[in-house]
Amino acid sequence: MFYSPFIRKPISVSQIMLRVMLALIPAIGAYLYYFGPIILVSLTLASITAVATEAAMLKLRKRPVAPFLQDNSALLTAWLIALSIPALAPWWLVVVGTVFAIVIAKQLYGGLGNNPFNPAMIAYAVLIISFPTHMTHWLTPAMLVHADLGFAGQLAYMFGDVLPQNMTLDAVTMATPLDTLKTQLHLGTAISSIFGQPIFGALAGHGSEMVAVGFLVGGVYLWATSIISWHLPVAYLGTLFMIASIFNAIDPAHYAPPLFHLFSGAAMMGAFFILTDPVTSPTTHKGKLIFAAGAAFLTYVIRVFGGFPDGMAFATLLMNICVPLIDLYTQPKVFGKKEQAR
């Protein structure tokens, strides 16, 4: 080492990724509590797939395998994929998503640091377009379960595609609160009576709202330890809250209250764990605010007026496209050159 600086802060990409994974633990805990241990199976499956795919791709691309595997970025992508698709799904669903994320969305663009799109959201988008039915089989939270499949039963379905006799998939899964809201609104039901249904909890859906709280807790930890800055989550959640408030104020019978939007679907996870992916988000403070506000706007539009129940993934990907442009037009003024530029 013959060039200054000769000292470095003890921090690495691998540690940063690990911290982010650590911050996912509250949400995973909530998931475990409300939906059972099957999430651990899909997390493991996604992790193994991601690491194996990453290693194979690095080998094919003639890149050093060990240092890049140790950066933990593939593992983090795997966890985010596992958390964004239904846990009770055939094993190949999570495998297809993860392989697509690692091979197409990440490695073919040049690997870590070079992908323009968030790999986990690419995986989600591919799966929801290719296998829409499988992507709706969200587990019913424990307190609402009428027919318990049991962990063995879940595994049997996951790996063998078999369900016990006299049990249907509809008995153990349900539509998400966002989905339910959309369908019921189409049927002409007013929001007040929709929210009276048992799947809705205090903030949004029973169980899923607590997973969202888990993401919020983990996100605050990331902010407190300076892994992420406040700009992206605050701008995203703030904008989503504002837009939802406006529509809700205009017509409360047809537009859900703002907190429902914040704690439903992937909003909380996206605000702290998806948008904050540094590779695919803007680098300037102003750019981050614009990016996140745009993503919030698109999320709301897709949720409320679009064809999909949730819009986080598409909103993220659409905003990912704009990142270079946003960065270019939000360059901050440098030291000593602030007053002259008017």
Partner: protein, 539 residues
């Protein structure tokens, strides 16, 4: 309390300053030899005044400053010059430079010195003394102080004395302030007087309470001078950053701080200015922190030209030292070897070992996390500059303010991908400079070529003019000579001959006085036109 301003970013590397402040500044014995480079400052190299074999006194001028930006070089002690030649010097380039080798005779025999009263000495005289005393900025920039004391178009309101010393390990300014506060303050008086400034602000990082106390005590009777404790934050000792913190003024890259009414001097420079003006002591020594992988880290008053290996030996250099760093660990340079000598820019020598400075892990790709942008004191976007430098997109790099980078190293320090960012910026800068030089050279060549073309064209034109004038003269002669066929034939024959030989016709023997007068008139006109052509050529 003074209002302090804030600069963007900054980092808090471990300071490691305590180990070298336990004992006072020591004066080591005379080294076995001194190798004194003639180019230790910004500007032109000093012109050698001595030859091998010359005896020199301590403080004798051995390198004369060239015209313009330059500074003087002196014999740091008395002895014999044994060699004037190229030697590797302590500089980032690692290239050899012209040096004088001086073998001390041990007598420390001084040249004659005078004492001056800095309060009454004419200001021009002060600048002259400083120039010939070889006083340059001792914070590391080694800019000739006399040039900085010339002021500018604008009135300099504030003098900033920089005692921040933000780099880890370095304590030479700290110890100087603790032990020689009074002379620093007197140097501040001289600077203030020369520039006609209203106030002197002495900025010291708040991790040096003893230095702050001593400096406060030293300037307690001066209403125009204040010691201000500034937050410990690297690179708070950078001139731009300290000026910002103390005055709120931001001096952009390429702008002189005097244009904003501020001028900044290192405290050690102020000390040397006072010693030079009051006691005619040229810059023969400086305080150097010797620390790192040594048994007894300490500050020494080191003669300029002392070999680094001898200096480190006095502090007890440990055997597992791999190399030496001149300056601090953030901005210092690795010395090419330990035989190079201490120069005016050398504030600190760190003996490095793998244990102290472990090699950087392999660089990973940039993940655009912007930790670098968060700490950049110049408010740049280091991740973008890295991208442009790496892809050799130098135009874009300049557009993104590459040359505003002060190479403080804060970005590299925090980079989780361990990318040597500053190295990329240095590379980009040197490539741009090289291309700029190439372009200048090409422009010059083109200009030369174009001038040559113009000159050839002009000479052709002159020849044509001359010829036209000649023909006109001949025609006039012909018309004015109705004398006889014989005469006309003679003239024609002579003209033909003249054309052949390309000389002026001289056959004016048998012409009438009238003809002669006409010819004389034509001749005069031709001479006139020739003179005009020549004067055109001259312009």
């Amino acid at each position: 309390m003074t209002q302090l301003y804030h600069f963007h970013g900054g980092v808090h590397p471990p300071t490691h300053k305590n180990q070298s402040t336990r004992s006072p500044i020591a004066t080591p014995p005379l080294p076995s030899k001194l190798v004194i480079p003639f180019h230790q400052h910004v500007g032109s190299m000093a012109k050698p005044l001595v030859q091998a074999g010359d005896y020199v006194f301590k403080g004798q001028l051995i390198g004369m400053p060239e015209d313009g930006l330059s500074s003087a070089i002196h014999a740091s002690t008395s002895g014999t010059i044994t060699e004037i030649g190229m030697q590797v010097v302590a500089h980032a380039s690692g290239l050899p430079d012209l040096c004088a080798t001086l073998i001390p005779d041990g007598n420390e025999a001084w040249i004659e010195r005078e004492r001056h009263n800095p309060i009454t000495l004419p200001i021009d005289e002060i600048r002259h003394i400083l120039r010939l005393a070889g006083i340059v900025g001792l914070g590391g920039a080694v800019f000739p102080s006399d040039a900085k004391l010339r002021g500018g178009k604008h009135h300099v309101r504030t003098i900033v004395l920089n005692g921040a010393e933000c780099e880890p390990y370095i304590t030479c300014d700290d110890m100087l302030m603790r032990q020689r506060a009074r002379d620093i303050v007197r140097g501040g008086d001289i600077i203030r007087r020369v520039l006609g400034a209203d106030e002197v602000l002495i900025g010291i990082e708040d991790n040096k309470p003893q230095a702050i106390a001593m400096m406060q005590e030293a300037c307690v009777d001066r209403s125009s001078m204040r010691v201000i404790a500034v937050p410990t934050l690297y690179p708070g000792g950078g001139a731009k950053q300290l000026i910002r913190v103390l005055t709120g003024i931001e001096v952009a890259a390429g702008v002189r701080s005097t244009d904003k009414g501020v001028q900044c001097f290192n405290v050690a420079t102020a000390y040397s200015i006072y010693r030079a003006v009051a006691f005619s002591e040229p810059l023969l020594s400086r305080i150097v922190t010797v620390t790192g992988n040594v048994q007894k880290p300490q500050n020494f008053e080191v003669l300029i030209g002392t070999p680094v290996d001898e200096l480190v030996a006095w502090a007890g250099g440990k055997p597992d030292t791999t190399h030496h760093i001149m300056g601090g660990p953030m901005m210092g340079v690795a010395l090419p070897n330990d035989q190079v000598s201490v120069v005016k820019a050398c504030n600190c020598i760190i003996a490095a070992s793998d244990a102290l400075f472990p090699p950087a892990p392999p660089a990973m790709p940039c993940i655009r996390c912007t930790r670098c942008a968060e700490v950049c004191p110049q408010e740049l976007q280091p991740q973008d500059l890295y991208w442009f430098a790496k892809s050799k997109n130098f135009g874009k790099a300049q557009e993104f303010h590459l040359f505003d980078c002060i190479e403080c190293g804060a970005c590299s320090y925090v980079c989780p991908s361990h990318i040597p960012l500053v190295q990329y910026y240095r590379f980009a800068k040197s490539e741009i400079w090289a291309r700029d030089n190439d372009k200048k050279a090409a422009d010059q060549a083109r200009e030369r070529h174009e001038f040559r073309e113009y000159r050839i064209e002009r000479e052709k034109q002159e020849k044509a003019d001359k010829l036209a004038a000649k023909e006109k003269a001949a025609l006039a002669a012909k018309q004015a000579a109705p004398v006889s066929d014989d005469a006309q034939q003679k003239i024609q024959a002579a003209m033909a001959l003249a054309k052949q030989q390309a000389i002026t016709p001289k056959n004016v023997s048998d012409l009438t006085p009238q003809q002669q007068a006409e010819i004389a008139d034509i001749e005069a006109r031709r001479a006139n036109s020739q003179a005009r052509a020549q004067s055109d050529a001259g312009t």
